[in-house]
Symmetry: C2
Subunit: 171 residues, 2 copies
């Protein structure tokens, strides 16, 4: 059974719309997803570090559309691990686990990895929205489109823009 | 540079003496390390799940003697990751990070992994006190002696009883 390392933020959890909401609350400025395409997350949201270090940020994120049903199916056909960069933001550790338990109750604690660098991950397939994670991974790589990577050359990574495409490739 | 996956509980953090203290506070019974040798942790401490789920348990652990100086040296000569089973005990996540930051301030968030199963770990060397982690690891394995594994046949794993021995092997 092949092992998948599946990212959270930007793949399961919709961080962009939450950043946009927090940006509006803080500045009164309404941003659109389209206006943020091609910018890094830090370029798009100058206060991003304050946002991700606030209590509740990771607990309150909404789902990326469609991901629940596909994750449930992947979980039946693969050895699935959720691998999330979390140790940079200490508050995120418990909030991420609470969030996973809420939206993916079929996953167990054995399948959750909260780390810093993902270079230590051993799996066959990695699904992630960040090149810094995919580029060091020796297996099959799927780049999940998010505004920050939208115009970048995917290189050796296979780009998907919706969960339906993940399903078409892996199920 | 070779990569080491280094366990916390029973290798860096002295869980046994803390369990003995909590057992005494709860029952009035004084246990000795010697009396616990050869027993599983659950056999040794029937209330272990209550202990590890109490606030402060992982934050208040003392160090296994000598580990700080050797970890600092390993950190200079290897790509070092601390890999700790933590997601089974949700309170432990933030407490373990606080504990690592306190006793090993030279380690960064990039080097910390809080997981469930360690089968997903890719490294060259694993140092751990549990066969359930070492047995699935394809690289070099070092079994750190703790009361629960003291009389077990180490098998393919190299057994060490003190941090000095880890230093002799790896430094």
């Amino acid at each position: 059974m092949k092992r998948i390392a599946l990212d959270m933020d930007g793949v399961l959890a919709d961080v962009y719309n939450h950043f946009i909401k927090m940006h509006f609350e803080e500045t009164g400025e309404s941003l659109t997803i389209e206006a943020l395409e091609g910018k890094t997350e830090l370029e798009a949201f100058p206060h991003i570090r304050k946002h991700v270090n606030s209590t509740g940020f990771f607990r309150d994120l909404k789902l990326i559309p469609g991901c629940q049903q596909y994750v449930e199916q992947l979980n039946q056909q693969y050895e699935l691990f959720i691998v999330s960069a979390a140790t940079e933001f200490p508050l995120s550790l418990s909030e991420k686990q609470i969030w996973l338990n809420k939206y993916f109750p079929f996953l167990t604690w054995r399948q959750m990895v909260f780390c810093g660098s993902k270079e230590i991950i051993r799996a066959d397939i990695m699904i992630d929205d960040h090149f810094k994670n995919l580029d060091y991974f020796p297996g099959e790589t799927i780049l999940f489109t998010q505004p920050h990577n939208k115009f970048a050359d995917a290189g050796r990574h296979r780009r998907v823009t919706h969960w339906e495409e993940v399903g078409q490739i892996l199920l």
